[in-house]
Amino acid sequence: MTKRHVTRRGVLRTSALAGAGLALPTYLRAQESGFTNAPTGDTVTLGFNVPQTGPYADEGADELRAFELAVEHLNGGGDGGMMQTFSEQNLDGSGILGKKVEYVTGDTQTKSDAARASARSMIEKDGAVMISGGSSSGVAIAVQGLCQEAGVIFMSGLTHSNDTTGKDKKANGFRHFFNAYMSAAALGPVLEGLYGTDRKAYHLTADYTWGWSQQESIQSATEALGWETVENVLTPLAQTDFSSYIAPVLQSGADVLVLNHYGGNMVNSLTNAVQFGLREAQANGKDFQIVVPLYSELMARGAGENIAGIPGSQNWDWKIENQLGERYKGTNAFVQSFGKKYGFPPSQAAHTCYAQTLLYADAVTRAGSFNPCAIAEALEDFEFDGLGNGPTLYRAADHQCFKDVVVVRGKENPEDEFDLVEIVEATPVEQVTYEPDHPMFSGGSLGSCNAGA
C-alpha cells in the first residue's frame, strides 16, 4: 500500500488549478454535447444585442421589435409573417428543433466595448446560443470577433462596412445586410443617368471604419463613370455642426457633394448643406447635387423635407413588393405582420434582423443541430427566396448575402409620415456581385468555424 503525502505546496497547486478551472468563462468549458451553450432542456435562448440607449436607440428599438416578432412566429404565434413566404418551408411554428425559443437582450450603446460586454454576458450568463443585432459596423465587427472566440453564431443586424465580410470576416459571422461596395455599384449607373459623366465630387466622410469603406467604394464607382474626386474631408464622428465643412464646398469647384455619413451625422450634415443653399446652387454650369449613399427611414425622418430628391441606397424598402412585384414576395407579409402589431411599417434594420432570425432557425432545422459549425455549413452557399429581397445567396467564401439593392430618393411630396422615400429601381444582384478577393474586401480570412468546446 502506498502512502500518499499531502504537502502544503501540493494542496495549493491543486486548489489553484481547480479555482482556475471554475473561474473559466462558461463558454470555454467543454460542454457535454461538444459546443457552446448546447440547449439541454425544452427551450433555446437567442441573444439580441441592439442599441437601446445612445443615438441609435430608435433604430435599436425597431430591431428589437422585429426580433420579438420573429420569436413569436417561430413559437407559433401571430400570422407567421415571412415564414409563410420563405422558400424553405422547414419552420412550422414549433420553435427551433422542437424547442421553444426564448430570448435575452443586451444594450450595445453603439460602443464596441459595451456591445462586447453585453454579448459576453448573454453568452456566459444567459446561455445564448446565437447573437444577433447591431446598428454600427464598428460594433458588429467587435461582437463578431467575440462570437468567433466564444463559439456561437453571429447573425449581424445593420452593418454596412465592407470590412464586416471583408478583412474582418469570421467563420462564425453571417451578414444579410448589403455593404458599401454594393451601394456604390448600384448607385453608380443611377447617378450617371441622373447627373451624367462629367461631374466633380466633394466627399465628407465620417472618420471611422464604415465612413472610410463607404467613401472608398463610392469614389471608385463614380470615378469609373468619369467623375473627378475634388476632395475627401474626414469629419469627426462626434461633429454636430458641419457648417465649417460645408462652407468651402462651393468654392472647391465641385458640383456634387457626397455625404458619407449615417445617423445623426447625416441628418446634420444634410441639413447644414441645404441651409447653405447647395440644393439651389449652380456650379460648373450645372445644378449642384447632393448624394447620400446609405439611406435609412429614420434618418429620412430626422432630415425632414431636406431629404427630398436626394438619391441613396437601401437594403430593402417596405413598399418594394407593391411597386416592383412578386420578385420581392415576403415584403407584404412582413409589413402586414409588423404593422398590425406595432402600428407603423418596419424599417430596413427591422427587416434584416427578422430575416436573420428566420435564416438562423431554418439553418438549425436543416442541420438538425445547434452546433455552430453545422449551422455555418447549412448557411454556406445557401440559396433562398421569399424573404423580401428576391432570390438571395449566402456566399460561402465570405458569409455575405448577395441580392438586389434598392436605389431610392427622398420623396418630394410625402403623403404621410411613413412615405418618406420613393424607389428609383432595384439593381439586379448580378450588378452588385464581386469576387471574394476583390481589393476592397481583401486582407482577412474567415478562418475555421469555432464550436467553442
Binding site: A57, V233, F276
Partner: protein
C-alpha cells in the same frame, strides 16, 4: 480671402452658441459658486421647447379618407391641425411655420421655472459641498433630464425648421465686391448671431444698469458683506440661476432649426462650453463671451481643408490645444480674476 471671411462668419455663428451657454455657466458659477454640469441639458431642453410648441401648434384631429389607403390597406387617417380649422389653412400653416420664433416666448417662463426648481430643489443643498460633489450631482441631473426627454421624444433627431421667410442664404460676397455665390451664408444663422448679441447685450445691461444687477454684482464680489447689509442675496442668486437657465434655453430654441434637436445635443456642447469658461476665466462674464467667439472662430479655421491637409486632425483638437496653452501661460484664463478656483 473669401474662404477666410466665410469661416469667420461660421466661427461667429458657432461662437454665438458657445458664448450663450458659457455666459449662463459663468453667471451660475459667479453668483452661486456652483459648477453646473447640467447646463448643457438646459440648452437641450430649450431646443425641445421649440419642438414642443411645434407639436402643440400642430395638434390635429383625425378624419377618415375612404378614397386613400394606409400602408396596411385600411382607409387613410388624415390629420388636420386645429389651427387650420380655426384660422384657415394659410394662416394656420403660417402659425405652425413660425413655431420656432414663437417658442422664444414659450420657453422663457418654462426655463425660468425649470431653473428655479433645479436650484431650490437640488442645487441649493450643494452650495457648501466640494466642487467635485457639485459636478457629480449636476452631471447626474443632466443624464436624468436627457433620459426623460428621450423617453417622451425618442432618440431620433426631430426636424424643427425655421420659417420659410428666414430660410435660404444671403449673398455676402456681393456686398463685399466678390462674385455672386462666393460668400453665401444662411439667413437663420445670421439671425442666430444677431439674437445671441441681443441676449448677451440684455444680460450685461441688466447686470450693469439695474439696481437688481448692481446688488448681484456686489454679491458676486463679496457675498458676506452684502448679506450683512440686510439684503437677501440668496433670493437674487436664485433668480440669477433662473435667468441663466433661460439664456441657455433661448440659445437652444434658436439652435433648433440649425441642427434637428436630439436628446444628447446638450452633452455635445457641454464640454466645449466648459473649455470656453476656463479659457475666458472662471467667473468672468466678458471672458466667457470673448472666449466663446474666439474658440468658435479658431474651430472654424481649423476645419478648413488647407489647414487639415497641413496638420491632420487639428480640427478635432484645436480647442483643447488652445485651452492647454492658455492655462499654461495664464492659468486664470483670458479675463479671469486672480484667486478664483485657485484655493
Amino acid at each position: 480671402m473669401d474662404a477666410l471671411i466665410l469661416q469667420t462668419l461660421n466661427g461667429l455663428d458657432k461662437g454665438s452658441a458657445y458664448a450663450l451657454i458659457a455666459l449662463g455657466l459663468t453667471l451660475i458659477f459667479g453668483t452661486l459658486g456652483v459648477v453646473n454640469f447640467a447646463h448643457g441639458a438646459l440648452f437641450m431642453i430649450g431646443a425641445f421647447c421649440a419642438v414642443t410648441l411645434q407639436r402643440i401648434l400642430s395638434a390635429s384631429y383625425v378624419t377618415i379618407d375612404d378614397s386613400r389607403t394606409d400602408f396596411l390597406g385600411n382607409p387613410m387617417e388624415v390629420e388636420t391641425p386645429y389651427v387650420h380649422a380655426w384660422f384657415g389653412e394659410s394662416v394656420g400653416a403660417g402659425i405652425i411655420e413660425w413655431s420656432v420664433p414663437l417658442a422664444i416666448l414659450f420657453s422663457i417662463p418654462v426655463m425660468l421655472l425649470i431653473g428655479f426648481v433645479m436650484e431650490r430643489g437640488l442645487i441649493k443643498h450643494f452650495y457648501k459641498r466640494p466642487h467635485a460633489d457639485q459636478i457629480l450631482v449636476t452631471f447626474g441631473l443632466a443624464i436624468v433630464l436627457q433620459e426623460i426627454v428621450k423617453y417622451f421624444y425618442g432618440a431620433n433627431p426631430i426636424p424643427t425648421p425655421a420659417p420659410d421667410a428666414l430660410t435660404g442664404s444671403f449673398d455676402f460676397g456681393v456686398l463685399l465686391g466678390f462674385d455672386p455665390n462666393v460668400i453665401i451664408y444662411p439667413y437663420w444663422r445670421l439671425v442666430y448671431f444677431a439674437f445671441a448679441a441681443l441676449v448677451i447685450g440684455a444680460v450685461f445691461s441688466f447686470l450693469q444698469f439695474t439696481t437688481f444687477g448692481m446688488v448681484v454684482r456686489a454679491g458676486m464680489a463679496d457675498r458676506e458683506t452684502v448679506g450683512l447689509l440686510g439684503i437677501n442675496i440668496d433670493k437674487r442668486f436664485t433668480i440669477m440661476f433662473g435667468i441663466a437657465a433661460a439664456v441657455a434655453g433661448l440659445a437652444g430654441v434658436m439652435y433648433a432649426p440649425i441642427n434637428s434637436p436630439n436628446y444628447h445635443m446638450g452633452m455635445d456642447f457641454l464640454v466645449l462650453s466648459f473649455v470656453v469658461v476656463v479659457v475666458g476665466g472662471m467667473g468672468s462674464l466678458p471672458g466667457a463671451v470673448l472666449a466663446g467667439f474666439l474658440l468658435g472662430i479658431l474651430e472654424s479655421f481649423a476645419s478648413m481643408t488647407q489647414v487639415i491637409n497641413l496638420i491632420p486632425g487639428i480640427n478635432q483638437i484645436i480647442i483643447y490645444v488652445v485651452a492647454i496653452v492658455v492655462l499654461l501661460v495664464r492659468p486664470r484664463g483670458l479675463m479671469g480674476r486672480k484667486g478664483v478656483m485657485e484655493e
